[in-house]
């Protein structure tokens, strides 16, 4: 399998210092994705470079304390991204915003798997039991798992377009200009309006839950 799979050799370990903020080159993520799926390692690396830093920071809010070590988070996110890109042959993202949302979902699922898996292990509590909330992520601790769960479920019920802009603005900290570019909107103002409307719809969905 390894010899035939162009991605196998690329379950790489990034040094965090290798993460520039933005990608100065104009090549779009979708082009890179296309090239990466064609087996172009260089394209895959550049793609990862683009999404890894943000998703890693995001994931650090979603991982429980025992897995919150940044290097752990790095590994988990990187590994998930490489696998997801590989699986993308079955899925054609509509725009770069969709790709980011897709990758976020992949990491979210991976974190859930990880939590379930580790929770099953008998030695899953090697950490200090006296500290409360070992099993909770920083976001759950800050907001409460019930409320965060309500938000997550409501978000999943939104349209794909709304999900993309909410995730980009609220969760990934993208600028309105970036959102405009990745969702093919004419201006930053238009992007801001799209985010605002999506947030109202999100709030309405949240209200529907008891």
């Amino acid at each position: 399998m390894d010899g035939l799979d162009p991605f196998a050799g690329l379950l790489i370990r990034y040094d965090r210092r290798a993460m520039p903020g933005g990608d100065p080159s104009a090549t779009s993520s979708l082009t890179l994705l296309e090239q990466a799926r064609g087996g172009d390692r260089h394209a895959l690396n550049r793609l990862l470079q683009r999404y890894l830093p943000r998703l890693t920071r995001w994931a650090s809010g979603r991982l429980p304390r025992w897995a919150r070590d940044m290097s752990d988070t790095d590994d988990l996110v990187q590994d998930t991204l490489v696998r997801s890109v590989r699986n993308l042959s079955r899925f054609q993202p509509q725009g770069e915003g969709a790709l980011q949302a897709y990758l976020r979902t992949a990491v979210m699922n991976r974190i859930r798997d990880e939590v379930r898996h580790r929770g099953r292990q008998p030695d899953a509590e090697p950490l200090d039991d006296s500290l409360p909330g070992d099993g909770q992520s920083p976001l759950e601790l800050a907001i409460g798992s019930e409320l965060l769960g309500k938000y997550d479920r409501a978000l999943e019920r939104l349209s794909v377009e709304d999900q993309q802009v909410v995730i980009a603005r609220i969760e990934m900290g993208c600028s309105y200009a970036e959102i405009a570019e990745s969702t093919e909107r004419p201006s930053a103002d238009a992007a801001r309006m799209a985010v605002s409307r999506a947030l109202v719809r999100l709030a309405e969905e949240m209200r529907r839950e008891p």
Partner: protein, 840 residues
């Protein structure tokens, strides 16, 4: 068109602005909208938390390199992926090595005036093969641009770690210092200098491995004729004062930087600091230095001393080499050395009475042992080295791992003991030094050994890292080794350490010894069960024996070919037999014999297998020839197996060969000088020899090693009784009974009181014995014969002795030499008894 108030509020939430929810709410028309606004406040909180994630993790922020775009896409066979960092010397790239299909870090020296010099340096760097130094793969000049490519290391640097987690403990920093001095020794060893040791240049990988980075700034050691003093290199706060003054860098200036690193790790500060290069230089010139003791007065003196030495302004006062610094740090890591009390009055004063008292006790014991066992190790061969393995320190941070550290120590000791050229104290002798701060010299004296083998255990990513070092009594490191093994290899690693120590001491191993010490991997769960069994075995109670049996059985089920588990199981069964009824004994003994046979079938030199077999043959089968062969087998397999010598000494005494027994018994005491049971055995042998003054002396020493030891008080009572000092005897036996109202000591007291003519008390004791017997308690029958003799009823005594022999009472084994039976000895009936017991 103005957006509705909700959308407007949502926009402000998206902006991250601060909202006046009261005024927003007042503009909403109904409760439904107000509820939606309520949900928006929740979304605002979620957005805030995310903003915080993205802002508060500076290490995840973009690197400040001005633009990371590639100025080229390849260099030779390497495909450049992105820029990791830029500096005055050139640029570091992450690159893809297509030939070997791996990522590498590539350093290109764009502006190098002499590319060939870079290449020469690269070739030398590539010679460094050390686990804690970044591995340089190659160097080349491509189209006039020199480059060096190397291992791509990931992880966090020590500066990040200190900033995130705060200053380290002295122990953790000592370990960093140890690994970095080894790394530096490797760099200096090929004739290079590092020139830029600093916290940012030491990376800790997720698995815990520390790697010294950035060798590119290195310069060839002066004298090997290359580019030196081509200007200042390094980071000002870490730079040695002489380098500031444009003197050439040297190994000592690297050691200075390492000293600054060790200062920084425990404080987060620097000994010489300033806002600019000029300020730092002024501070150096005026001798302004922060003292580590002032910042961290809690640190062990040893650590303060070594760091101060490393950062001495005068290079000549620093450590002479990285190796010397390593040795100094190793002695800090060694048990009890962070400021040996003997040469460290300040620390002793601070720690107060407790330490002084401990040292006094050990020193006293040492003095006593000195006179028992004069320094003659000739019986074990002329070139024998005596080595004490002190308990491996558990640095995993998990106290539940203590059994692992102890178990591995025990396994290492048994491995070392199978090398015939070594004499190695048993685990019981060294267990007292666990986690104790005792100076190596004191341990070496107390145990009468030439060398000490100490170490520590770390665990990372399911792999165990063992650091072991051999020191002389002055704490000087003679040999050190680090082994990282998956759990499955941890027992085998102990054999490997024994072999490495033998090799270091130029001991030729026989092929038998070598194969004994070369174990294959054992199922990790079987090892775990085995080590837990050993821990349970250490408690002498019946429950401990039962628990041990459970673990050893589990271990043998998982790893049927693992001989030590069968042997220890056999010992545990014998331990249990001691608590069993007479009727259940034969079954337990048979089981123990079968298990020992299994162990010996798997490993014909399994010392514990021999000891278990011998114990069954001696105490239960009364097959003395076989038992003697088995005990001797144990000693031959592992000359320093004290249990073998201990058992053989008792056996020889039973067979009437008291002089031989005394010699062998003295061997056992020499191997385990601080074990009360061994001293008690030797004292009893002197009692059998009728050398009462010597026997009393040894019993009293037992009591000094183990104050209040009831068996020793009982022993003293027997000796005084044999000397006719019945009052003293009664006093000592009463002391023993205060600790434990042992069924076998009560008759002895009765006997002494009978001799003293206190018949009323004798009757009271006999009444207590009879009552307790009715409740199922038992005592050795032969005691009745002692009382009968004391009362002059010899015929009754012979009847009792016959019954005792028929019951195979264990005490009857020594009837031939026991002074308490002297009253029967001239009677021909006694000879019959001796013959029937196969003791004649």
């Amino acid at each position: 068109m103005n957006p509705d108030p909700l959308t407007e509020a949502a926009g402000l939430v998206a902006d991250g602005a601060i909202l006046d929810w009261g005024s927003i709410s007042s503009r909403l028309s109904n409760d439904g909208e107000r509820e939606i606004a309520g949900e928006l406040t929740l979304i605002a909180r979620i957005a805030d938390e995310h903003r915080r994630l993205h802002q508060l993790l500076p290490s995840a922020e973009p690197t400040p390199t001005e633009g990371s775009s590639l100025d080229r896409t390849s260099w030779g066979h390497l495909e450049l992926l992105d820029v990791l960092g830029r500096g005055s010397y050139g640029t570091v790239y992450r690159a893809w090595d297509g030939r070997l299909d791996r990522q590498v870090a590539l350093k290109l020296f764009h502006g190098a005036r002499d590319p060939e010099a870079v290449m020469r340096e690269g070739r030398m760097l590539a010679k460094i093969r050390h686990d804690h130094v970044v591995c340089v793969y190659g160097a080349d000049v491509v189209e006039g641009v020199a480059g060096i490519w190397m291992e791509l290391v990931r992880g966090r640097n020590l500066e990040q770690i200190v900033k995130e987690q705060g200053p380290m403990s002295a122990q953790e920093a000592t370990l960093v210092g140890l690994e970095m001095s080894r790394a530096l020794a490797a760099v200096h060893g090929v004739g290079l200098l590092h020139c830029d040791i600093k916290a940012q240049n030491v990376i800790r990988e997720p698995g815990g491995r520390l790697v010294l980075m950035d060798l590119g700034a290195g310069r060839t050691v002066p004298g090997t004729g290359d580019t030196t003093s081509s200007g200042m290199t390094g980071t000002p706060r870490y730079m040695a004062p002489e380098v500031f003054n444009r003197r050439p860098a040297s190994p000592q200036s690297d050691l200075y930087s390492l000293g600054v690193l060790l200062f920084y790790l425990v404080t987060g500060r620097f000994p010489v600091d300033g806002k600019s290069l000029a300020e730092i230089k002024t501070a150096h010139d005026s001798g302004r230095q922060l003292h580590l003791r002032d910042v961290r007065p809690d640190l062990p003196t040893g650590y303060l001393r070594e760091v101060s030495r490393a950062i001495a302004a005068d290079p000549l006062q620093r450590h002479h080499s990285a190796g010397q610094l390593e040795a100094a740090l190793l002695s800090l890591a060694a048990p009890g050395s962070q400021g040996a009390p003997a040469d460290n009055p300040a620390r002793r004063a601070r720690r107060g009475v407790a330490v002084t008292a401990t040292v006094a006790t050990v020193a006293l014991a040492a003095a006593l042992i000195w006179s028992i066992a004069p320094r003659s190790r000739t019986p074990l061969g002329g070139s024998v080295r005596s080595i004490a393995v002190t308990p491996i320190r558990n640095l995993t941070g998990d106290p539940a791992r203590n059994y692992l550290a102890d178990g591995l120590t025990e396994v290492l000791i048994s491995n070392m003991a199978r090398i015939k050229a070594f004499s190695v104290p048993s685990f019981g002798a060294v267990a007292g030094y666990r986690d104790r701060e005792t100076a190596p010299a004191v341990i070496a004296d107390a145990l009468d050994v030439d060398l000490l083998l100490a170490g520590s255990l770390l665990e990372a990513d399911g792999r165990l890292q063992l650091e072991m070092h051999l020191t002389d009594p002055n704490g000087r490191v003679l040999w050190a080794q680090e082994l990282t093994r998956p759990a499955a290899g941890m027992l085998a690693a102990q054999g490997e350490i024994a072999r490495l120590v033998a090799r270091h001491l130029a001991v030729d191993l026989s092929s038998d010894e070598r194969s004994t010490l070369t174990q294959g991997p054992v199922d990790p769960r079987a090892q775990e069960a085995y080590l837990r069994g050993l821990a349970a075995q250490a408690t002498l109670a019946e429950s401990g024996a039962r628990e041990a049996i459970k673990y050893f059985r589990e271990s043998t089920e998982l790893a049927p070919a693992f001989a030590p588990a069968w042997a220890e199981w056999s010992m545990a069964e014998l331990r249990l037999v001691q608590f069993a009824n007479v009727s259940e004994r034969s079954q337990g003994v048979q089981r123990a014999k079968d298990l020992a046979a299994k162990a010996l079938q798997l490993d014909s030199g399994q010392p514990t297998g021999f000891v278990a077999q011998a114990t069954a043959q001696f105490y239960y089968d009364w097959d003395f020839d076989a038992a003697e062969r088995s005990f001797r087998g144990a000693i031959a397999a592992a000359p320093s197996n004290a249990a073998g010598s201990h058992g053989l000494a008792w056996l020889l005494a039973a067979r009437g060969r008291v002089d031989e027994a005394l010699q062998i018994g003295a061997d056992a005491v020499r191997l385990d000088p601080l074990a009360a049971s061994r001293l008690n055995m030797l004292a009893t042998l002197h009692y059998y020899k009728r050398d009462y003054p010597r026997a009393i002396e040894l019993m009293e020493r037992t009591l000094k090693v183990a104050p209040g030891h009831p068996t020793a008080h009982f022993g003293l009572g027997r000796i005084h009784a044999a000397m006719g000092h019945y009052e003293l005897a009664a006093e000592q036996i009463t002391l023993a009974l205060k600790r434990s109202r042992d069924m076998n000591w009560l008759p002895e007291l009765a006997c002494v009181l009978a001799h003293a003519g206190q018949d009323a008390k004798v009757d009271a004791i006999l009444k207590e014995l009879a009552e307790r017997e009715q409740h199922g308690e038992a005592y050795s029958l032969d005691h009745g014969a002692h009382i009968a003799a004391a009362r002059g009823r010899i015929d009754e005594g012979f009847t009792i002795l016959r019954q005792a022999l028929d019951r195979r009472e264990i005490d009857m084994l020594w009837m031939g030499v026991d002074p308490r039976l002297d009253g029967y000895r001239s009677d021909p009936r006694f000879e019959h008894l001796m013959r029937d017991a196969h003791l004649r």
